[in-house]
């Protein structure tokens, strides 16, 4: 189809949607499916087939631990959410709405901060459109930005718009997306590539899974716009092997979009062609590092290379390659449609836009939150209903490369610079809340063992450093350490930071150093008394 046909199709679908009466969505994200959402959707589709109800399996609605979630929309009224649905209660809820009322059973309050407090831009379509239907995406403005770009804008104008928006890479490093695009655009390769990094390996991070599962077209559209802007004809989505549902939905979305002429050859009747392939990872955390990720796409061991040259200069098969995080691509379409000025008005100066966080751990509601950058940690914790099982002790951000932020810094705005100043990092947006029953040396040891397992083995500082650091931490947590072990641990951590080859080794000491910075007394207590003050670590735990 061309741009006009796309426009007509959208109007038709939107009109059809507005006359369909009750709109019922069942969340079909991985957590809700694990909680039994498939049976709920099935019961609704069977039980309501003849009535004026539109039932869809939708993407993620946010509060994952309250699943299976149900959302009912009537006309232009605000949607009503129901939690922990079973087939029978879901039918009752829909029937109550059909009769003009609603039921109080498992209904979520309309003002629930977890839902009402969010500003959903990247996740704008998640929860109200069917990730397995292109039509559903089109009705929700899907591919409108791509149509505008291919029809009205020059590649340099696209890059300029993205630069002006102030968008920074959502994978963690926070590099300016527009500058990166311009680097690849001006590179003199004839063949270029665009890669979406969906290797969300940080334990406790699930934002990218959410977007890929819930609104795959949003990311594909962002990639195609990037392809147009930098002059690439091919793109790859690298999806973690642990996310089979995301891979399945992406493949389906690509095939549907290709059939409709929204991807593939001569997109929307223009001269621009862009093909996207899905590549599945195989369980290696290091593949989140961009040079390792490229090696993996090319079918090799995921071992990083020294940078420079950066992928923008020499990437896949030696050609200029643009690598952005899944969420970064999710920001593109809204920026094109609403403008750079609108995007940069959200968030704080230097940290424009929103960020998706996945909040888990000792928290009332586990799930996915999208808020403007600069929102404080306290606000995030409160939106998720507060800490469970005790008082707030620390929040872990940035996964295995990040650090722990203590209660005294709860009012820190969550942005790239503030978190770095506290010895943590923004990372991809995983946020793990811990209560005062948790043992911080145990957490540090957990992450160090993770890095030890995941080290690719190429450089010695990381390969042996993580092993030795994990041994020292095990000695501390099992109560057999001396104070000089602590000094040795610190020295080793600093050495790894400066001498490792890639980000994995350089950042592996962060959880140790940040817990040492804020919770040094806990380490010393383990050493002095020979036991864990929180009662978490066991004496037999030594390596």
């Amino acid at each position: 189809m061309n741009c006009d046909e796309l426009h007509d199709r959208r109007l038709f679908l939107q009109k059809e949607l507005s006359t369909s009466g009750l709109k019922v969505s069942v969340c079909m994200g991985s957590p809700c499916i694990a909680a039994g959402a498939e049976a709920v959707l099935d019961a609704l589709q069977r039980g309501l087939g003849d009535l004026a109800v539109q039932v869809i399996g939708s993407g993620c609605m946010g509060p994952c631990s309250r699943g299976p979630l149900l959302r009912i929309e009537q006309g232009s009224g605000a949607p009503v959410y129901y939690e922990k649905m079973a087939p029978d209660t879901a039918l009752l809820a829909v029937q109550a709405h059909l009769n003009g009322g609603k039921t109080d059973c498992n209904v979520l309050p309309a003002e629930l901060p977890f839902i009402a407090g969010q500003q959903r831009i990247v996740l704008g379509n998640c929860g109200n459109c069917d990730p397995e239907s292109l039509d559903s995406t089109l009705a929700n403005n899907g591919y409108a930005a791509l149509a505008r770009v291919t029809g009205e804008m020059k590649p340099e104008e696209v890059c300029h718009e993205i630069s002006a928006s102030g968008l920074r890479g959502r994978g963690g490093a926070g590099y300016s997306t527009g500058v990166k695009w311009d680097l690849v655009r001006t590179a003199r390769n004839k063949r270029k590539y665009v890669v979406a990094n969906g290797d969300e390996g940080d334990p406790g991070a699930f934002m990218d899974r959410t977007l890929m599962e819930s609104d795959p077209h949003r990311m594909l559209e962002g990639m195609a716009i990037a392809g147009y802007a930098v002059g690439a004809q091919r793109g790859f989505v690298y999806v973690r092997g642990e996310y089979p549902l995301a891979a399945k939905r992406l493949r389906r979305a690509i095939s549907e979009a290709e059939k409709a002429g929204l991807l593939g050859r001569r997109i929307l009747g223009s001269a621009f062609s862009f093909r996207i392939q899905v590549r599945i990872g195989a369980g290696a955390f290091v593949c989140g590092e961009e040079t390792a990720l490229m090696a993996s796409i090319m079918g090799r061991r995921g071992q990083p290379l020294i940078r420079p040259p950066y992928p923008a200069q020499r990437g896949l098969w030696g050609k200029s390659t643009l690598i952005n995080n899944v969420e970064t691509f999710g920001c593109i379409a809204p920026i094109i449609l609403k403008g750079a000025a609108w995007f940069s008005s959200i968030g704080t100066p230097g940290n424009s836009g929103t960020k998706v966080f996945s909040i888990s751990g000792d928290i009332a509601t586990v799930g996915v939150l999208e808020v403007p950058l600069g929102t404080t940690l306290r606000e995030l914790v409160e939106m998720a209903g507060g800490v469970t099982g005790g008082k707030f002790k620390a929040a872990q951000t940035g996964g295995a490369s990040g650090g722990c932020i203590p209660a005294s810094h709860l009012d820190t705005p969550v942005d790239y610079e503030s978190l770095t100043a506290l010895g943590s990092i923004m990372g991809s947006g995983g946020l793990i809340v811990m209560n005062d029953q948790r043992c911080m040396p145990d957490v540090a040891r957990f992450f160090m063992r993770f890095c030890q397992d995941e080290s690719c083995g190429k450089c010695a500082p990381c390969r042996t450093g993580t092993q030795q650091a994990a041994k020292l931490l095990a000695r501390i947590t099992s109560g057999g350490a001396e104070l000089k072990d602590l000094e040795q641990l610190e020295e080793l951590c600093l050495l790894m930071q400066v001498s490792s080859l890639c980000g994995l080794g350089m950042a592996a000491p962060n959880p140790v150093l940040s817990t040492l910075r804020w919770f040094r007394n806990e380490y010393e207590e383990h050493i002095r008394s020979g036991r864990c003050p929180s009662g978490v670590c066991s004496n037999e735990d030594a390596l």
């Binding site: 991985s30 699930f206 590549r279 599945i280 290696a284 955390f285 079918g299 090799r300 996964g399």
Partner: protein
């Protein structure tokens, strides 16, 4: 994926993948799905078909956690050891499973009924601690309930 395979003899590669070294990881996934694990013979066949040195194919297969070089048991249990699962008791759960079945994580029981494994975060932290049993993510309120599920006669795994 299997429907695309045209070569009946080893039946490992699709037409599209043949002689393409970048298809190796995809081909390993396909072969493992079909045969359950990646034996030396399968790796050799893949090397031949992709025209790659066997050492490289073995190197890739042994690098990634998702590839199994040894056969696994009739049932497969993977415990998530991500951060949330760790905080909420996955270590104890794994230890309990290890002692109940007399095997270590990464091993298969002597009668071949169960293999035990761990994974670093499934990204479904809302239901921690999590276990994947025969491809299905299981949520449970307590660890003991999950172990109970494993001990009970199991339903056959869903046919793909």
């Amino acid at each position: 994926m299997n429907s695309r395979q045209t070569d009946n003899r080893p039946g490992l590669l699709s037409q599209r993948q043949r002689h393409r070294s970048d298809a190796l990881i995809e081909a390993l996934h396909t072969a493992q799905e079909k045969h359950g694990h990646l034996s030396v013979e399968i790796l050799g066949q893949l090397a031949e078909q992709l025209q790659l040195p066997p050492s490289l194919v073995y190197g890739v297969a042994s690098f990634y956690h998702a590839f199994r070089l040894l056969p696994r048991g009739e049932h497969h249990c993977t415990v998530c050891t991500g951060t949330s699962c760790h905080l909420l008791g996955s270590t104890a759960l794994l230890q309990k499973l290890e002692s109940n079945f007399g095997i270590h994580c990464g091993e298969t029981s002597a009668d071949g009924s169960l293999s035990l494994d761990s994974v670093r975060c499934l990204g479904v932290c809302g239901m921690a601690p999590l276990v994947v049993l025969d491809g299905q993510i299981i949520t449970a309120d307590s660890a003991s309930e999950m172990i109970q599920k494993i001990f009970l006669p199991l339903e056959p795994p869903p046919t793909p």
